[in-house]
């Protein structure tokens, strides 16, 4: 009966569904204003955005390709949240994960794909996990704040990779800081895979790592809510004193959670490297690790929510690209403004409209209960 417990008859879905939708609408309204200011018709822009994301097969393919990236990085942030760890380092972990994939792909290319591809996946996961392990260890054993250390590890990863690409992986005679191709470890494109079953689908970067992403989401759901390890992880995250009382090791759980988080981020390379680029590129992680934070916030750290939020961001990426192509005044930068607004409203200002949304529900709630009393 303490004042902090206030559930006032507001249904759970008010916060899980209604609030993110309100945030999204607010983001689009402000975006519309920006579009109006530069002299374009917002309705036209919305129409183009949606058409660009879902209007034709190739668009859908691209949208789902981006979605795959966001699922991996969103899940990475989400699982850490359950242990009350704010993993800002998804970007670096993804980048280093790509290094793991590349090392396996370049050195074990003689193996048949059926062996090589799983090894690459393991390599990506392991390297991502290892990059997360160090900040996790420092947090668990030394109390160094994970937000600070993971941010710093992003910079270290970035510099390390520049060094490696420019000095180690670069092809002799090439000016491009990228490794050589390793098509042996390619994950098949969806249009190829669908072709095996005689289904025709427009060619796009969308590849089978999308299925791995969905599997990862299912894994996170089972792990967090249906295993004793998930139970321990959530106990440490929700009430560390209760964890001490129950003999649950906070140290161990922080490290395990961060390693899982890092591995999930490391899988980004499955989609970007094994699925599409087939080589290690400078900055291939392209900010997906950071946007993953917004994806996890918007998806309320639930795997299903993360998948839906990832789809939204995937659509914004692809639709936005199409938009700047169709309307020249809406430049690439302006599309990023729109994406930024969504991130601000869904992430940073997550709870801004909470009182209003709750007020609306409260306004409707008494009538229902009065009706119930009358019966």
């Amino acid at each position: 009966m303490s004042p902090s417990v206030s559930n006032d008859g507001i249904p759970r879905w008010a916060n899980v569904v209604a609030l993110p939708l309100v945030n999204l609408v607010a983001a689009f309204l402000v975006s519309g204003l920006v579009v109006l200011i530069i002299g374009e018709n917002p309705l036209e822009v919305v129409k183009l955005l949606i058409w660009g994301a879902f209007g034709f097969q190739e668009a859908i393919g691209y949208t789902l390709f981006y979605t795959t990236n966001f699922i991996f990085t969103g899940l990475a942030v989400a699982i850490a949240f359950h242990c009350m760890l704010f993993n800002i380092g998804g970007e670096g972990q993804a980048y280093i994960g790509g290094l793991g994939i590349t090392l396996v792909g370049l050195n074990l290319g003689f193996l048949p794909p059926i062996v090589l591809v799983p090894l690459c996946i393991i390599g990506g996961g392991l390297f991502g996990a290892a990059w997360a392990f160090i900040p996790a260890y420092l947090q668990a054993k030394r109390g160094s704040h994970i937000v600070i250390t993971t941010i710093m590890f992003n910079f270290i990863a970035s510099s390390l990779m520049v060094y490696l690409l420019v000095n180690v992986f670069i092809q002799p005679g090439s000016m491009q800081p990228e490794s050589r191709y390793f098509h042996e470890a390619a994950i098949p494109f969806f249009h190829e895979a669908l072709g095996w079953f005689g289904i025709k689908f427009a060619s796009s970067p969308w590849n089978l790592s999308f299925l791995w992403a969905i599997l990862c989401a299912a894994f996170v759901w089972v792990f967090v809510w249906h295993t004793r390890w998930g139970f321990e992880l959530r106990t440490v995250g929700t009430n560390p004193r209760a964890a001490d009382y129950a003999g649950i090791s906070s140290t161990r759980n922080i490290i395990i959670t961060m390693c899982l988080s890092g591995a999930l981020a490391g899988f980004l390379g499955l989609n970007e490297i094994m699925g599409y680029n087939h080589r290690l590129l400078l900055n291939f992680s392209g900010g997906y690790g950071f946007v993953g934070i917004a994806v996890a916030l918007m998806g309320r750290s639930h795997p299903l929510g993360v998948c839906l939020a990832a789809l939204l961001f995937g659509a914004l990426y692809q639709g936005g690209a199409e938009l700047s192509f169709e309307i020249p005044t809406i430049t690439r930068e302006l599309v990023i403004v729109i994406q930024g607004l969504v991130i601000i409203f869904a992430g940073a200002l997550e709870f801004m409209f909470k009182p209003q949304v709750e007020a609306v529900f409260r306004w409707f709630a008494p009538r229902k209960s009065r009706a119930a009393v009358a019966e």
Partner: protein, 517 residues
């Protein structure tokens, strides 16, 4: 409704409040006469706190009206309540430890952006309040350095400084020694003499009898009775609260102690800041006896409990359970103690014993989540867990019997029963219990006490740490008094009374008349 010219200080009419399916306040009517001390009693979850939260503006009532001094008021926030002249002293103090008393009192009432003028004004005002109400506190002391009793006075000063004419106190004596409680009552009486109105929420009927003028009883969200204190008895109030006759004294036969189950020898332990809190404590708990440890909270009992149950590392000495040493401190300590046959009901259920946002079934396996019966391979066996929890809920009469409900939605007494069910059901050799009935209603207290006696009679060892002297005196077979990290003395329950224990808890030898000014 003004009668004979003077309006009541507070009049609540038809207050109604629902939280989802829980009807916390049903059509409440309450009249508090101006210049009186009015008690509100009721079991936990009866709706007392909700009602006071409505009066203080934390919640808004779904229906009903509030009259203050005969005038209808629309109180929407604590700010409104303060402006109306209502002050509240919360069960958990709302103070900034690193601020001085003066700064805490001024906080939120600084009177202008320049602090200097406010400070001298506040200092003068505080001096007046202290003189008038026996509220002596060093205004320049850091609040964190003050004992709880004084911190509470700061809370009262805060309310008075903001011009409170009506003061609400929520379970104010839970953290006080009997002597401190007496002092608090003198303060409340002084307030009444000055014409202030005091509303006292409590579950201790003795206090109601000692200090109030009138008392209202709540049960399950309804106001069931109003009595003039002089015209009622403790027994009647208890019966009104629970809705049936209650045994206020625990009935128990003589103890038959056996072998020593727990042996604590010269134990030392520090708190999280490295300050020594347990300074060489030795005692034994034998099978078939209840050993009670009395003491004012903050004298090392918490650290003693945590060190014995392996939660914090020991700084010296030893703890033997069934002749085997227990590992101290995380991560393995608590699990090790459990494996060796210790069950532990922690002092602070919210901070340690439960995970409040978890479903009840999840809180019910805390500490035992690796039990093979709860798991099928790596996946938790949810149906087995829920069946097990449903059985415990029936055995311990936990209401509502809903394993899926969030732990935080159970009342205090039922949360405590969730922990007790979890720990007792394991059939441990020793049960270590801290504050088993803190914030728990009378009906549940009776139940919990009976279960503890049953444990003892079944040949288990029980170590009870409590700040409730009644509880210590009625349950224990031996009483140890803890003061400043040491065992100050041992008393047989037959020889114990509130005065002797109270003096020992304050570090004075009751046989030495000189020690007490």
């Amino acid at each position: 409704m003004p009668k004979d010219g003077s309006s009541p200080a507070i009049e609540l009419v038809g207050i109604d409040k629902k939280f989802g399916a829980v009807h916390a306040n049903k059509d409440i009517r309450l009249t508090v006469a101006a210049g009186s001390i009015h008690g509100i009693v009721g079991e936990n979850g009866a709706g007392k706190s909700t009602l006071m939260s409505i009066l203080y503006g934390f919640y808004r009532a779904d229906a009903g009206e509030i009259f203050v001094d005969g005038e209808r008021r629309n109180i929407q926030s604590p700010q409104d309540a303060i402006e109306t002249g209502i002050g509240m002293v919360h069960q958990h103090f709302m103070l900034v430890d690193t601020f001085t008393v003066l700064e805490n009192v001024m906080l939120g009432a600084e009177s202008g952006p320049i602090l200097k003028n406010g400070v001298s004004k506040a200092r003068e005002e505080l001096r007046r309040l202290e003189r008038e109400y026996e509220l002596d506190v060093d205004v320049d002391a850091l609040v964190g350095d003050l004992p709880v009793g004084l911190q509470q006075r700061v809370e009262i000063l805060k309310a008075l400084y903001r011009g409170a004419e009506i003061l609400i106190l929520d379970e104010p004596t839970g953290v006080l020694t009997p002597q401190e409680a007496d002092h608090l009552f003198r303060i409340l009486q002084a307030l009444r003499e000055q014409g202030k109105t005091v509303i006292l929420i409590t579950h201790k009927l003795r206090e109601i009898k000692a200090i109030t003028d009138a008392v209202s009883v709540m049960r399950r969200g309804e106001m069931v009775a109003h009595r003039e204190t002089a015209e009622t008895s403790t027994e009647e109030l208890a019966e009104l609260m629970v809705g049936r006759k209650v045994l206020l004294r625990v009935e128990k036969g003589p103890a038959h102690p056996g072998r020593a189950v727990l042996e604590v020898d010269n134990l030392r332990a520090d708190d999280s800041l490295g300050v020594p809190r347990v300074k060489g404590v030795s005692f034994q708990v034998r099978a078939g006896e209840i050993v009670g440890i009395a003491g004012v909270s903050g004298n090392g009992q918490s650290e003693l409990l945590e060190a014995i149950s392996g939660i914090i590392p020991t700084a010296g000495g030893s703890v033997l359970l069934n002749d085997a040493p227990i590992l101290g401190g995380p991560p393995r300590g608590a699990a090790d103690a459990r494996e060796k046959g210790m069950a532990h009901v922690p002092e602070d259920r919210h901070r340690m014993g439960l995970v409040v946002p978890f479903a009840a079934w999840e809180s019910s396996i805390l500490g035992y989540q690796n039990d093979p019966t709860y798991n099928r391979g790596v996946i938790q066996d949810r149906s087995a867990i829920i069946a097990d929890v449903a059985k415990k809920m029936e055995d311990f009469d936990i209401r509502p019997a809903a394993p899926e409900l969030a732990t935080g939605n159970f009342s205090g007494g039922n949360q405590q029963k969730i922990i007790l069910a979890r720990e007792i059901d394991r059939d441990p050799d020793i049960l270590v219990v801290g504050q088993p009935t803190r914030g728990v209603d009378i009906g549940a207290i009776e139940f919990i006490h009976r279960r503890l006696i049953e444990m003892r009679d079944a040949g288990k060892a029980v170590l009870l740490v409590s700040v409730e002297l009644d509880e210590i005196m009625s349950l224990s077979d031996r009483i140890l008094v803890m003061f400043d990290g040491r065992i100050f003395g041992e008393v047989a329950p037959e020889d114990a009374n509130e005065r002797t224990l109270g003096l020992m808890m304050a570090g004075c030898d009751p046989n030495d008349q000189e020690a007490r000014p």
